[in-house]
Amino acid sequence: MAEALPGGQPPIHSDLARRVQAETGQNVFLCYQCVRCTSGCPVAEFLDWQPNQIMRALQLGQDDIALGAQTPWLCAACQTCTTRCPQGLDVAGIMEFLAREARARGLRPRVPEVEIFNQAFMREVRLWRRAYELGLMAEMKLRTGDLTGDLDLGLKMILKQKLAFRPRPCGRRAGPNRSPARPAPWPTTRAARCIPRRRSLTSPPGRCARRSA
């Protein structure tokens, strides 16, 4: 949807801005470039485009910048920008949306590790209904190909018994707050089945093998 501008300037494409508004409820045209988001951003020095520049790109319909930047992927979700924006914009929420939108449009994630982490984490949660850090770390290592990084750290943490070897799936004990079986609180998607089929791994959560009772 291009809006004609006087004086023969190139039209502004606001499709992505409209998508942002529809999905996150945020009107990017409220941004007046005070740059507080960027000033407070802890990861600013690692970004190719600063948060305020992304906001400007959204206003101007520069989708290639907004969707092609590393910024949405490197955002630490610390919420500093959202907290400080004088216009009350949820800048961090917009970054999250942009990363999702880039994936939905078939663009490759600019920081693949982050996408791998997100997917691996969600897979652990689908399998066990809880986080399983060691499994998550192992999958990260295999998928990123970085097999040696932080091994010393992992070893130290295992020696301190800070990392459990086995996942501790969510078992439902008989208790005062026991409830009838519920459907899983997430849509069961194909991603959950990416791991080789084994009964103990793919049986639906809530009926975990070990602690059914």
């Binding site: 802890p42 990861v43 690692f46 490197l74 630490a76 979700a77 610390c78 919420q79 500093t80 959202t82 907290t83 949820d90 999250e96 990363a99 999702r100 920081v111 590790e113 982050v114 996408e115 791998i116 982490f117 997100n118 997917q119 984490f121 969600m122 652990e124 949660v125 066990w128 209904r129 809880r130 986080a131 998550l136 770390m137 990260m140 990084g149 932080d150 010393d152 750290l153 130290k156 943490m157 301190k160 018994q161 800070k162 969510c170 078992g171 439902r172 004990r173 208790g175 005062p176 707050n177 026991r178 409830s179 009838p180 519920r182 459907p183 609180p185 997430w186 849509p187 959560p205 809530g206």
Partner: protein, 266 residues
């Protein structure tokens, strides 16, 4: 530690992961439903308050409740069929906040048999305990004081610093450790510059980033980082085991012994 203060904690049977920092990026619907499942469980179990020791869990549960309040009209119950309540009525609180509200700083001070005099600490809150304020309900998102109050109550000298709510790098720990090392390293250096003997934290991931990664930071001297309940257990006179001081990668025991706060031979 909570039991010693008369606060009885009950683990919610059947709790699920809140989705942490991955869900709200990858799948916002799951990020909403997972915490809501816990809240519904708690409500069914007749609990009125849910407290958690992790800043991200706290934030996700608060965010789910925020979305519940925003929804207009309220959404159909995600876990419909008999599973019960939407979970908006359970009060979600971070552990420090719960202690302050239910026990109170004065009571903590009265029960501190061994006040930790002579210990200088900076309190580090990190991002998600306070931000964004419309979700967490924090009164002072840029200058929270709950931990300060608890630490003062047990005799710790709280040192002021500007990095209370700066980011440690959080979940980039597994994706971009270089970013975490830069941010967390800066926090340690700033705490040392402020003259602190140790950092007190209230989030397990912040703790991992600040404590376990210190050996990678090329610091001149290490700085112990303690979860706030560790110090409170010591001050309440609980057995040393309850403080789990051996679990820290930067051993805090030499510092505590030097200050005369720990027996030489436990």
């Amino acid at each position: 530690m909570c039991a010693a203060l008369g606060l009885k904690l009950i683990e919610l049977s059947g709790w699920v992961c809140c989705g942490s920092s991955a869900a709200h990026r990858a799948d916002p619907e799951a990020a909403f439903r997972l915490p809501l499942a816990n809240l519904a469980l708690a409500e069914q179990g007749g609990f009125r308050e849910m407290t958690m020791p992790c800043a991200a869990c706290f934030n996700r549960h608060k965010a789910a409740q925020h979305r519940l309040r925003q929804a207009d009209p309220p959404p159909a119950r995600p876990e419909a069929a008999g599973a019960g309540a939407p979970g908006g009525a359970v009060q979600v609180s971070a552990l420090g906040e719960a202690l302050l509200r239910r026990v109170g700083a004065r009571e903590v001070a009265a029960r501190a048999k061994r006040p930790l005099a002579g210990l200088r600490a900076v309190c580090y809150y990190g991002c998600l305990l306070t931000r964004p304020a419309h979700v967490t309900g924090a009164e002072h998102p840029e200058n929270p004081t709950e931990l300060d109050a608890l630490m003062r109550a047990i005799g710790v000298e709280v040192v002021d610093w500007s990095y209370k709510t700066a980011c440690c790098g959080a979940a980039h720990s597994l994706t971009r450790p270089d970013i975490v090392l830069k941010l967390s390293g800066e926090l340690i250096r700033q705490a040392q510059a402020a003259g602190a003997d140790l950092i007190v934290v209230a989030c397990p991931l912040c703790h991992t980033n600040l404590d376990a990664r210190q050996f990678q930071m090329k610091l001149e001297s290490p700085l112990p980082v303690l979860y706030f309940t560790q110090l409170m257990a010591l001050a309440l006179g609980l057995p040393q085991k309850a403080a789990a001081l051996d679990k820290n990668l930067v051993d805090p025991r030499p510092l505590l012994r030097a200050k005369g706060l720990l027996e030489l031979y436990p």
